[in-house]
Amino acid sequence: MTRIVFYGIGAIVSVTTVVVTLSGLIPGDRLVYAKQKQTSGGKTALSGVARGPAHYVPGEILVKFRDEASLSGIASLNVDTGAKELKPVTVQAGVIHQYKLDGALSVDEAVLKYQNNPAVQYAEPNYLYQLQAIPNDTRFGTLWGLHNTGQTVDGTAGKADADIDAPEAWEISTGSPNVIIAVIDSGIAYDHPDLTPNIWTNPGEIAGDGVDNDGNGLVDDVHGWDFLMNDRDPMDPVDLNPGGNPGHGTHVAGTIAGAGNNGTGITGVMWTAKLMALKAGGVNRSLSTTALVSAIHYAIAKGARVINASFAGSACSLAFYDAVSAANDAGILIIAAAGNGGDDGIGDDNNSTPSFPSNFSAPSVCNGQQKAALTNVIAVAATDQTDQLATFSNFGSTTVQVAAPGVRINSTIPTSNVTTVLLHHFDSNPIELGYVFGGTRSTWGFTDSTSSSQPNSLTDSPTGNYQNNTDSFAMGPVFSTVGQRGCRLDSRVRYQTELDIDEVLADVSKNNGTSWQVSQGISGDSNGRFHPITWGDIADGSAGSQFRFRFVSDESLTFDGAYLDDVRVACVADAPSGTTDYQFFHGTSMATPHVAGLAGLLLSANPHLSVTELRSAILSTVDRNASLNGKVSSGGRINARAALSSVVASSTIIVNKSGAGTGTVTSDPAGLNCRATCNGKFPLGSTVHLSAAPDPGSTFAGWSGDCSGTGPCSISPNATVTATFSIAPPPTNSGGGGCTVAPGTTGDMVLPTMFLISLAALLRKACRR
């Protein structure tokens, strides 16, 4: 019992200390709690992986005395240990004393001395705890991929710390509204309350004025574009039929950047970001190369830094490769799903069964051409709640780079509340509906006999079997989707055709039938039953919308044909409620946005990171495990905290000492202080000033390597310098001038190599003067 109180109070005290230190980094309304990561004095860490020695504040201890302890006894004990009161902290159970030791006793010795005194209830080092930012989103407990305490999620228990360490990462950054992540997918329900704050808005476009304000050829592309239906509205069309799109893009978007700490639903890996909605698919799950290429070029033109690609296919398209390569040139990272296993649902090896775009991360053969690996592509496999590779997940020792959580992922989905724009039962006076029949050998009409859908349905062959060599249609009336979004066409259908040869198709038009787009075809036998079917998307905001059903047969074999009923165009009715519009999905599609969100976090911490630096930060900081060894090239699952730490302070300056003399090299900011070879870590993009101080009897002869001259050395990390100290008394320095370089601006990120080249040039110039 005492022990429990003891730990709890220790946590409160030390966190209070750290919060004060870091207060500038922590939003005021955010719940912060501590998790002890380390093991010390035989006490077991609560959770987490120890990443170094036990940490506590040097020279400080915390002591709680028993109530009966006398003030004089306390004072005398403190004299014995050399402890001086820093701060008494009043807690429920009394007073905790925070003492500073005078150095005569080590922290361990002092703790032991106090513990052995009967007046002391407990004594311990002033442990440092890792801060964690736990957001107040109501479903945060279900997001095991971000924070796994072993909790049961959707009926299945997890394993503590089999997660991406998001709360630890959020100590460093929770995102930024300046980082644009493009989601190329089925669209995004941009009206979802948990997404709305993080939806990108095109700064160059005036909403709804019908003018292409930014001159990019697209009118009113406010939040993105629908490259499937070529309309301005990238709303994710939800499909209530099994097998269709259940709100895929909206789910992915929520994992990247569902609004964090807003007291609602879930949070993304980024609490704050800008999500660009690039709709290239829809209710049919399928995305064509042309839509993808256009979407990628849009992302390039509009300043996205990361593209989420939660889709895959077996074809290596050159046009797709060229677009991804153009994104690489533009400094855009593309996070791609490794893909879910084929028909058997078991993950395949992408080394032998290529999957694209994820395999663009490795050398590929497209259309007979050998194509180089693209460094901006990271292929992502999926892990489960115990950090195992998901059974459905594709993998590849050279073709998949990393894994991320992809099983039982809870995120946002569009509302399933739809409004009906058009509904044809064909029951009373179907002629009045205005269908037009035509094409080659058309026998389309209405029937009340063969169909089991009473009283009437629409059919290609009202009297017996269809004919050979037909390509006929039943074209519905023109209708409007102006003011509507997320529209799609569905119906019930009964069919019997020559399998894979004769088929019934739905075509859609948004220009009164001037041009048609095929959405889907079916063939085979429904065994006399009507099935619900979602045919495909309908363009939003079009006054000239139309659909037609086509029947196409070849020269042999005829059957009963197709019957259609309850033909419906439905669109999104209202915004999602924000309380019920969440769902669990599985897939490498769900793993991918965890990595895209991490890339966004890295860019929020350091917007100047190149594609290569982002890639390295993500892949070199993974948590490795046996299940992923040999399955992904990095051997592990992403760790957001470790990746962020690596870009915040990841670069090294190496100092070598040369010459017969001796001396000390120090740095400003601190981090280096050495008399021989040593190195220090400094934030990327910062400027570090090195000083050399010769010992008596030695002299500083100068810098070499990435600095020169004898003056202070100002340098950007990722550099190596040598300091030479000589014994001989130096010749008198003529003009008293060393070689001094004006310090760079701190935080001004330059490609290290470029910076060093210009620095070297500056130095040469300066020294010649």
């Binding site: 799950r285 064509s288 050159l318």
Partner: protein, 83 residues
């Protein structure tokens, strides 16, 4: 059952022309091959076209790639979301 969507869009081809080919020449080649332009991507070098007559995508690609002005021609391949 609904057919699994074909691996590529029926009757559609993507054609990439080499740099320096005039727009007149591009139009002539596409017309000679009985195709309609659906869209120009990437500032006129990449064309999304529809095959007008009863020809397979494979045959149309074979015919198009015989032109030295064409860098490549390929089907409009499809990809699928991975939920």
């Amino acid at each position: 059952m609904p057919l699994p969507l074909p691996r590529f869009a029926p009757k559609e081809v993507l054609v990439k022309f080499k740099d320096g080919v005039s727009s007149e020449r591009i139009a002539a080649i596409l017309k000679d091959n009985q195709t309609d332009v659906i869209a120009e991507l990437q500032r006129g070098r990449l064309y999304h076209i529809r095959i007008l007559e009863d020809r397979s995508v494979e045959l149309a690609i074979a015919q198009l790639t015989s032109y030295r002005e064409i860098e490549y021609a390929e089907p409009n391949y499809r990809y699928e979301t991975q939920k």
